[in-house]
């Protein structure tokens, strides 16, 4: 009964279009004042202490690092390298775009930043070589979503904080699925490009490839810093994020000289704006999940789901559908903050690995980023390419289909996500 009231109120407030953070906060306030015996002081305290965790502070650092990287000429060198390796195949530039997105995703934790960084350089180039704009924009929209799957990712940090899962394990777990998705997207693109006879680049020599790789090595070093640092225990995830931000700043300003020093203030302000928005949602979502836990709703829901006897196959199907629907209304961080605490207890009871659940949620969020009405990747790609949303949506469809197939694979083949973190000893073998 209480859960119906809480969620009803939340949904009613959300459809007025008010910020999700405010809707969460007002739901909690209304509930506390009218329905429960929870002392108001404990709620107030939660509101103040909700974000005082060092793990959460990885989010602003990763946002900052991502912003330095999009400005920093790292993307351009990755595109050059990818083009030199696979540019001579059918649809070579598009394939290079996908691989460059995957490389950029290794060091960047945001899909939107990936689309901006790769798309704004690659799309004009593709049009110049005779590709239709809609083809290029569609490829980049979908490939950009690799940004939150490969290694560092802001949604993963949020999931880790919401459920207490290891950040390091989640980062590494996304690597193999990310490579699989890259290959699936490349195959589809290659097939379409061959059928429509899109242009190919001239084959590069090994010497040119070597030079292009050496050029992009400064950016790729970030992988070593982030994953190497966390894996070897040199620093925590948050410290790794801060080091990544400093390193990205250094590379952009002093090595590649792509960003003038005087722009630093602007980048800092932009990153602060974005981080504060996320931290504000996190504060209020912490409050919300405190109330849920206090009313014992996640466990009641878990019991209810277990009583349905769905088994893990049915449960994961249900979870996927729920997340895909939610992806039509909200952006990833809000969905994760609201849904993860609800799905988590039931998933654990069914013997689903928390890391597997995290990656599954992450892939669902990727799908949501690529279709209207709230898919941010789509809007950003439409902004860069000047294509209408409707046209771009139609163009994205074939790759979106591939993503859904990929989602099914990730959902029902846990080995793919779990083998790497287990092999690296980041989570107990099971």
């Amino acid at each position: 009964m209480n859960s119906a009231i809480i969620f009803g109120l939340l949904i009613a407030l959300m459809i007025t279009g008010m910020p999700i953070s405010i809707a969460l906060g007002l739901t909690v306030l209304t509930f506390v004042f009218t329905m429960t015996q929870v002392p108001i002081e404990s709620v107030a305290l939660k509101l103040f202490t909700g974000i005082e965790k060092f793990e959460i502070m990885a989010i602003p650092f990763f946002i900052l690092a991502g912003n330095f990287l999009t400005h920093g000429g790292v993307a351009k060198r990755m595109i050059n390298f990818a083009t030199s390796v696979i540019g001579h195949l059918h649809g070579g530039l598009a394939l290079a775009g996908i691989v460059a997105c995957a490389m950029f995703a290794l060091v960047c934790g945001s899909s939107v930043a990936t689309v901006v960084a790769i798309g704004s350089i690659l799309l004009p180039e593709m049009v110049k070589h005779g590709y239709p704009m809609r083809f290029g924009a569609a490829v980049i929209t979908v490939a950009g979503s690799l940004g939150i799957l490969m290694l560092p990712s802001i949604p993963k940090v949020i999931y880790a904080v919401a459920t207490g899962t290891s950040i390091g394990a989640l980062f590494v777990a996304g690597l193999l699925p990310g490579i699989l998705l890259t290959m699936m997207l490349c195959t589809t693109t290659w097939w379409i490009a061959r059928k429509r006879d899109y242009p190919r680049m001239t084959r590069s020599t090994w010497k040119e490839r070597g030079k292009a790789f050496a050029d992009s090595v400064w950016g790729l070093m970030l992988v070593v810093i982030i994953i190497g640092g966390i894996y070897s225990g040199i620093f925590t995830a948050t410290e790794a994020a801060a080091m990544a931000a400093m390193y990205a700043f250094f590379v952009s300003v002093f090595v590649y000289k792509a960003m003038p020093l005087k722009d630093t203030g602007k980048v800092l302000l932009q990153s602060a704006n974005m981080s504060a928005m996320l931290l504000y949602i996190i504060t209020n979502a912490a409050l919300f999940s405190f109330i849920l836990t206090n009313e014992n709703i996640p466990h009641a829901l878990a019991d209810w789901i277990l009583a349905k006897d769905l088994g893990w196959v049915g449960f994961l199907l249900l979870a996927n559908l729920l997340l895909l629907v939610a992806g039509n209304f909200m952006e990833p961080s809000s969905i994760i903050l609201i849904m993860a605490p609800i799905l988590y207890p039931a998933a654990i009871a069914l013997g689903i690995n928390p890391v597997h659940l995290g990656i599954l949620i992450d892939v669902n969020m990727e799908v949501g980023l690529c279709h209207p009405p709230v898919g941010l990747n789509l809007y950003v790609a439409s902004g860069i390419s000047r294509l209408g949303i409707t046209e771009l949506t139609k163009a994205v469809l074939p790759w979106l289909g591939v993503m859904l197939v990929f989602l099914v694979i990730v959902t029902y083949w846990p080995w793919l996500t779990l083998v790497l973190p287990r092999a690296m000893g980041m989570m107990p073998p099971g």
Binding site: T16, G17, M18, S21, L26, E52, K53, M274, V374, Y379
Partner: protein, 203 residues
């Protein structure tokens, strides 16, 4: 007067962001550099105590988050589910948007009031933070100040919207320093929030 406040706000959150990054960077470097056996330098390194860095970073980000959230109201970055609202007729939509802005002001106002009370109580105790030994009430001052500012920003935005029908909009497609063709005409579809006054979108 308002201009000064705007600049102060921007300057504060940008420097907190940069400052926290620097502190963590220095602290990590220090942790390992202190292990290198360089004469004199090592002694000097060991004499520095940077154990407070983590705590400082958290508090700086809490302050950044509270004031940044207020700045975010001004830049329109706090997004909601506006798909349904944008389907409404302009007259009704205007009321719903006003309602949600005032709800924001209401919530942040209440939090500011709670915060003031909380800080007041804390100020009469001598609780300090574990590492830096700062009085906790100063740390938590971010809540009444930030939330109060946020409440003010909501009212400001609501007032402007009521008079002119304009909302601040965060445009994720615009990225500084990246060559972009042209800012797209975002009003060409009905998926984006549009202004009530003026041309009123493409419906």
């Amino acid at each position: 007067m308002l201009k000064i406040l705007d600049h102060l706000e921007e300057w504060l959150i940008a420097s907190l962001m940069g400052g926290a990054t620097l502190i963590i960077f220095v602290a990590v470097i220090h942790r390992y550099a202190a292990g290198w056996p360089i004469p004199y330098v090592q002694d000097w390194m060991l004499s520095l105590n940077l154990s407070w860095a983590q705590e400082a970073c958290i508090y700086m980000f809490v302050w950044m988050a509270k004031f940044g959230a207020a700045y975010g109201v001004r830049t329109g970055i706090h997004v909601g589910v506006d798909v349904l609202v944008n389907q409404l007729s302009d007259r009704i939509r205007k009321r719903v948007v006003l309602f949600s802005l005032l709800a924001g002001a209401f919530f942040t106002g209440i939090v500011a009031a709670f915060g003031t009370n909380f800080v007041w109580l804390l100020a009469h105790t001598d609780t300090t933070s574990p590492d830096m030994e700062l009085p906790m009430w100063i740390v938590y001052l971010a809540i009444p100040l930030g939330s109060g500012l946020m409440c003010f920003r909501f009212l400001q935005v609501a007032w402007t919207f009521w008079r002119t029908g304009e909302l601040p909009q965060h445009d994720p497609t615009h990225v500084e320093g990246v060559d972009q063709p042209v800012i797209p005409d975002m009003s060409a579809d009905n998926l984006h929030p549009h202004e009530v006054a003026g041309k009123g979108g493409g419906r």
